[in-house]
């Protein structure tokens, strides 16, 4: 659950005469081509021949949330093993091909998605696509590699059990989704990771990796004509469809609870949240603006101003929207001295209430929106990020013109929208608050769920 969208924003009432608010259209230089290979594999492409670099990303629906019970961590383990030997190349040979050719190739699994990433110098492009194809279609899962990666994952799990932020996140999700895959760690537990067999790994690859369920983004020094045949050789022999799976929709269960996990540290880590909006909700843009004012804008948000700037209670405090495929949340976090945790929570709740109860002004709306639209161009700063953007737009079904249209969606947001959303969603009493540390001034209402 590490991937989340957090856009910088700003609030504030300002009268600065020197400013001109005509915001540059960020990505005006970006033209997306839809490339369909002779074999029917589709990718979106942004050609850019400035540097001899080619980047590809893909994402498939279905990630850790589809892991079978007792085998939690399977998708993650597969992602760690696809680049550890494939075809005729054992792990060392495969890794060495990557390293000697300066090719970056990796896979990852979130709760909702299984994703891949490839980056290469132009001169090694064909080799890079070959290795990517091999990894996707003929992973070896040799015993040595399986046990080595398993040991690495187990070490990571052991470390995360003592890390305050990991404990806080994990407790939050487990408490809110006790009967849903989102309540489980996407990387699995020691026991479930220990139970994963080579057959499980192979079965995942055979059933879950399919070209029809994949969205692909490519950017850099490659033309559409050059890319089309590469799409066929790379993805063409994957099955058309992945095996169907079903995951129920879930809503947070631990409404308004305060959960304390005792840990002997000088500073408490706080995670809080309640329900949010799915990405395809028409109000998502208004909610994004609202969240910027509340806790999304880095140095200008209300939470930052009230908790950090005015009171010096925390180094970091923030909120963000977390729309997943099967649940939507409005989340936040802070880290604050044990003796000040009660006060910090009071301030966060009162800002949550103020945001709900007192309408924001047009000036505040404009300031937040100007930041959101004006900073968009900064996301196109490298080849891999552009390929990633193409994947995200397809994954969320935003349309091939989204980059041009995005500003319009935000410009259409009205004060009425914002204040309506605030009343509908923001509820300080519904916030589930998880604290890890030795907090003072905090009365737990619920014990942490085991696990």
């Amino acid at each position: 659950m590490t991937a989340y969208t957090r856009i910088l924003a700003g609030l504030t009432v300002l009268t600065i005469s020197v400013l001109v608010f005509a915001v540059a259209t960020p990505a005006r230089a970006i033209e997306i081509q839809r490339v369909v290979s002779p074999g029917g594999v589709e990718a979106w492409l942004v050609e850019d021949h400035t540097l001899p670099i080619v980047a590809l990303r893909f994402s498939m629906i279905g990630g850790a949330a589809t892991d079978p019970a007792g085998k939690e961590g399977l998708a993650n383990m597969v992602s760690g093993l696809l680049d550890e030997g494939a075809g005729d190349l054992d792990s060392q040979s495969f890794r060495r091909q990557l390293e000697d050719n300066s090719i970056s190739l990796s896979f990852s699994a979130s709760q909702d998605s299984f994703s891949g990433s490839l980056r290469s110098l132009k001169r090694n492009q064909d080799k890079a696509f070959d290795l990517f194809h091999l990894a996707l279609t003929e992973p070896r899962f040799d015993d040595e590699a399986v046990e080595r990666i398993r040991a690495q994952i187990l070490t990571g799990i052991a470390r995360s059990k003592n890390d305050p932020s990991s404990i806080a996140r994990r407790t939050f999700w487990a408490s809110n989704f006790p009967d849903h895959p989102y309540g489980r760690r996407s990387g699995g537990e020691a026991e479930s990771v220990g139970a994963i067999t080579k057959t499980d790994l192979t079965t995942f690859v055979n059933r879950r990796i399919a070209r029809g369920d994949m969205v692909i983004g490519v950017a850099g020094d490659i033309s559409a004509a050059e890319l089309a045949p590469l799409l066929d050789t790379t993805f063409g022999d994957l099955p058309e469809r992945a095996e169907a799976f079903s995951i129920g929709t879930a809503t947070p269960a631990a409404l308004g609870e305060i959960i304390v996990v005792d840990q002997d540290v000088p500073q408490s880590t706080v995670v809080f949240g309640h329900r949010g909006l799915p990405r395809d909700d028409p109000d998502f843009y208004a909610a994004t603006v609202l969240n910027h004012v509340l806790g999304g804008g880095s140095f200008t948000s209300r939470l930052y101003q009230e908790v950090r700037e005015k009171r010096g209670l925390a180094y970091s405090v923030f909120s963000y929207l977390q729309p997943l495929d099967h649940a939507a949340l409005w989340l936040g976090g802070a880290a604050t001295e044990n003796s000040a945790v009660g006060q910090s929570i009071d301030v966060i709740r009162s800002e949550w209430a103020r945001m709900r109860d007192i309408p924001i002004t047009q000036e505040q709306l404009d300031a937040a929106r100007d930041n959101i639209t004006g900073s968009f161009a900064l996301r196109f700063s490298n080849t891999g990020a552009i390929a990633g953007m193409l994947v995200a737009i397809q994954r969320q079904d935003l349309g091939i013109n989204y980059i041009d249209e995005r500003s319009k969606f935000f410009e259409a947001v009205t004060l009425e929208d914002i204040n309506r959303i605030a009343k509908k969603f923001l509820d300080p009493d519904a916030l589930t608050i998880v604290v890890v540390g030795k907090p003072e001034g905090v009365k737990p209402t619920k014990k942490p769920d085991a696990g």
Partner: protein
């Protein structure tokens, strides 16, 4: 760093700047390219008041990164005043004679910009990334706070708490970070690099307004700064803007950067931290090593290659022997960052597999290192390492912020623009003999410090 670096988009960490309080930017792979190519082709000039300017053109998107780097960091703090450079970095956002506290950030936010700041042992930097046509505004704001900062006790008190919370987040909450702080303190006997950049808590708590203002007045000046502009700009326009906004600021008489230097070291040190929060042990060792500009500098480029041969990737010596062949470790690597003004370190680190005794792993590592020192690297290993480093140059250009960070760090740690541009050629010229000579010169027990992180109670050692 002024704020958490979670400015993520879909999990991709936006330029890794200031992710740590030490200088991490250059690591081993600044950038390089096959022989004789220029990497970044910057335009450089110096204003009459001594401000050095570097412009790197990048016209891929209509955006710009604007950075000001000061030649002052934690290692320049007066004795007993640790944390002052970093505390001041926070306070630089608090307003000037012309701008109220927070106004700076409000203006940047309103204009769609992102900003942050960072402090290392050797430099302090401030940056904004924003639409290219907002560059004049960024210069106006940054030039204003170069000399116009206004501080009072009321301003510094809440921020002091923020800094202490930052210390708790970064260091006190993490056994790994606490050990690292202790190892650093043991690595240098006399040089101020032994002190944490963020400062010791009792010294942060005692810093006074006057001390902070003195530090600012002493070091923040155009002739002690480097302006780096990277993005969709024309060098001559940047020059005109820099003249307009930074040009009028008078130069100051700067004190010399005098730092106590490191005496010869005679005994290896070992620091062990046991903590209830540790499940999995880890081990690292650092050796005192030259930087680009200090110590036995003839070994620097060879050491960059050495770090790759020993610990760069899974085909490296350490990973292939300890993680794959002997199956003792879950991770193994080596690192070396020569972009320090004074002596740096060459490091190696490993974590045992669950159930493997950390001493057994350490013995295996020492055997590998001893064997390497005896027989040396192969020609093939060196060639592969050099190719990877040289290739990394192209990737370094694939970013708005990376080239700016590379020049800022280089110029504030005693290197020249030419040094950066020649980096791939110098890497390419490294020979097997030089790698072996560098390893033998640097990997000596008496200049090493070892850090071991262990669980409490149940022992990871025999």
């Amino acid at each position: 760093m002024r704020n958490r670096s979670k400015t993520n988009w879909r999990g991709r960490v936006w330029p890794a700047i200031g992710g740590s309080l030490t200088a991490i930017f250059l690591f081993t792979g600044i950038a390089a390219q096959p022989a004789d190519a220029q990497i970044f082709n910057p335009t450089t000039y110096t204003l009459d008041n001594g401000l050095r300017v570097v412009v790197i053109e990048n016209h891929r998107a209509p955006v710009v990164t604007h950075m000001v780097w000061y030649n002052v960091g934690a290692a320049d703090e007066p004795p007993g005043k640790s944390g002052i450079a970093h505390f001041l970095e926070h306070l630089m956002f608090k307003g000037t004679k012309k701008r109220a506290s927070g106004e700076f950030s409000d203006i940047i936010a309103r204009n769609g910009g992102r900003e942050n700041a960072f402090t290392s042992q050797d430099y302090t930097g401030y940056f904004q990334s924003i639409a290219a046509d907002r560059l004049p505004l960024m210069m106006e704001l940054e030039a204003d706070r170069m000399t116009g900062l206004v501080l009072t006790d009321d301003i510094i008190q809440p921020e002091r708490q923020v800094v202490i919370e930052e210390r708790r987040s970064r260091t006190d909450s993490s056994p790994r970070a606490l050990l690292n702080e202790q190892v650093t303190a043991a690595t240098y006997s006399n040089h101020p690099y032994r002190l944490p950049v963020i400062g010791w808590e009792h010294e942060i708590s005692a810093l006074t307004l006057d001390e902070i203002v003195d530090f600012y007045n002493t070091w923040y000046a155009p002739n002690n700064a480097v302006l780096v502009v990277s993005g969709d700009v024309e060098p001559e326009e940047v020059r005109a803007l820099a003249e307009k906004y930074y040009g009028p600021i008078p130069a100051k008489t700067l004190p010399p950067r005098v730092r106590p230097s490191e005496p010869p070291q005679h005994a290896p040190r070992e620091v062990v931290l046991r903590d209830a929060r540790v499940d999995q042990p880890s081990w690292s060792r650092r050796w005192l090593a030259p930087s680009y500009v200090s110590g036995e500098t003839e070994h620097v480029y060879a050491l960059e290659v050495l770090a790759q041969v020993l610990g760069g990737g899974s085909s490296s010596r350490l990973y292939s022997s300890l993680v794959i062949d002997q199956a003792l470790a879950v991770s193994a690597g080596a690192w070396y960052s020569p972009d320090n003004l004074d002596l740096t370190t060459f490091g190696m680190g490993v974590s045992p597999r669950p159930g493997v005794d950390v001493d057994k792993l350490t013995t295996a590592l020492e055997e590998q290192v001893a064997r390497f020192l005896e027989t040396g690297a192969t020609a093939e290993e060196v060639e592969r390492a050099k190719q990877r480093l040289v290739d990394s140059a192209v990737f370094a250009r694939d970013s708005l912020g990376t080239p700016a960070r590379i020049f800022g760090a280089a110029l504030t740690t005693g290197q020249s623009v030419e040094d950066v541009e020649q980096w791939p050629n110098r890497i390419s010229a490294v020979t097997v003999e030089q790698v072996n000579a560098a390893a033998r010169a640097i990997l000596r027990p008496e200049t090493s410090t070892t850090g071991i992180l262990l669980p409490l109670g149940k022992d990871g050692r025999s």
